[in-house]
Subunit: 271 residues, 2 copies
């Protein structure tokens, strides 16, 4: 439950991310919409190097531009190739993303493990852009000749009864796992603006204020139950991870309620 008292500034820069990120190579993609969504997913994760081998649609493509949601940085530098071999010629390590098991003795990685390996490789002295992942077309996926061009296979573990990912979803998961290894976002953060977590003295002040008024109102009048009731109320408020501002708000609430409550109190209401 760690928290900080400011809205974090962006910690990543797209350009810096893209420098060593993997190239994405689509073999015979069939739908402009999917190419656009691939570009969008790539840029979401800071990747920019998109290559198309024999796309089945015209290029540039209007539908791709629409579904890319403004990922021009990716679309404007797309490169087209006739052969997969040409598209990967400058790369030193290539992965094939496929859902199907092949009758080939190859190493299969999860996307998370592939991301770890790609980071290790790009942390060495390999030149920028030397890693790539190839993805097959929507209908058939990769053929075995293309798979063999890769060093290793990436397969996303999915529901085995329904394991076919949309092309852009398959790209997203690989790109997302890549980004997660760079990203430093805290897993859990109480986001506050212009305030800070209440300190223990402020919490004690709130507890004492509340308990004093509950004593006055008769809510804690049963002596043997008082300690456990006080403890339970403190636990509830403690669990709420209050900010300093919220403590002041709640003390205002108590004041308001006691002003009102005083007029209406009768014995049945405090049981």
């Amino acid at each position: 439950m760690a928290g900080t008292n400011r809205i974090p500034k962006p910690k990543l820069q797209a350009v810096a991310l893209a420098e060593n990120g993997p190239a994405v190579i689509l073999i015979e993609p069939q739908l402009g919409e999917n190419i656009g969504m691939v570009a969008r997913a790539m840029l979401n994760c800071g990747l920019t190097d998109l290559r198309l081998v024999r796309p089945r649609v015209d290029w540039p493509n209007e539908k791709a531009a629409r579904t890319s949601a403004g990922a021009d940085l990716v679309l404007n530098q797309v490169r087209l190739f006739d052969l997969t071999e040409e598209a990967i010629a400058d790369l030193s390590h290539v992965y094939a993303s496929t859902a199907r098991r092949r009758d080939m003795t190859m190493t299969v990685l999860t996307p998370a493990e592939a991301a770890r390996e790609m980071h290790s490789l790009s942390a060495e002295n390999t030149p920028s852009g030397s890693i790539g992942v190839i993805f097959g077309g929507e209908a058939m996926g990769l053929n075995n000749d293309d798979v063999v061009l890769a060093d290793k296979i990436i397969t996303t573990p999915l529901n085995p009864g329904f394991s076919s990912l949309n092309l852009s979803q398959a790209v997203l998961i690989v790109a997302y796992e890549w980004l997660m290894l760079i990203d430093k976002t805290p897993a859990r953060e109480l986001v506050m603006s212009e305030t800070r977590p209440a300190n223990k003295s402020e919490m004690a002040g709130l507890f004492e204020h509340l308990e004093r008024e509950l004593d006055n109102g008769g809510f804690l009048r049963v002596r043997e139950k008082r300690p456990i009731m006080v403890r339970n109320l403190r636990i509830i408020l403690q669990r709420a991870d209050l900010t300093e501002q919220e403590v002041r708000t709640l003390r205002g609430v108590i004041k308001c309620l006691t002003g009102t409550f005083a007029k209406k109190v009768d014995q049945s209401a405090v049981d």
Copy 2:
């Protein structure tokens, strides 16, 4: 580099996965295509409980059916609601997925951390289907009134210069992180069919066969270089993680080449 010698059987069952998985609640989704892709992404990850609040398209929806790629299990049990409050009424823990920072003091989780928390919650005695994640519409995302209905916020860390995910991509990442905590797929596996990793005795047989032929051919004739050349060749072959079948193939290759090579050998070729 651990490997097993069989193609793994599916380890997950969609129905079992779905039992405790989070419900997905879309608030005012605008495009049937996206609803269908959400259904597909959910079923890819074993989730089945999809709820729509005031969808901006007719329901059932033909475009959703098409882009769902057969995720009927999800589409056929979609429930419609007028109010977000109604759509989440049966849930005990609700998360709001949003990319935008809000001026609200709420806990923000990464998708991975949210998945860990959801698993902890569903591992307790909470009834099936008691967790849900709400997602806003394509254009505007969630409004603050809907965000406040949630216990916590989920924000996917992304390229801060281009952080708006497609709706189905946002759902996929949350569902994928949920699934990854259940999944037992080895991160790295050498997949083999009808063979097994070569053992050290088979590797030694290969090394000795190769070195004997290279001695015969004169490739290792410089005495002081022989140890390092032998070591390097062994390292190359060792790194290839050979199977028993592949060792036999390579020994066949050596036999073939020595038959051929013997006819062509001259001094320049062996330097």
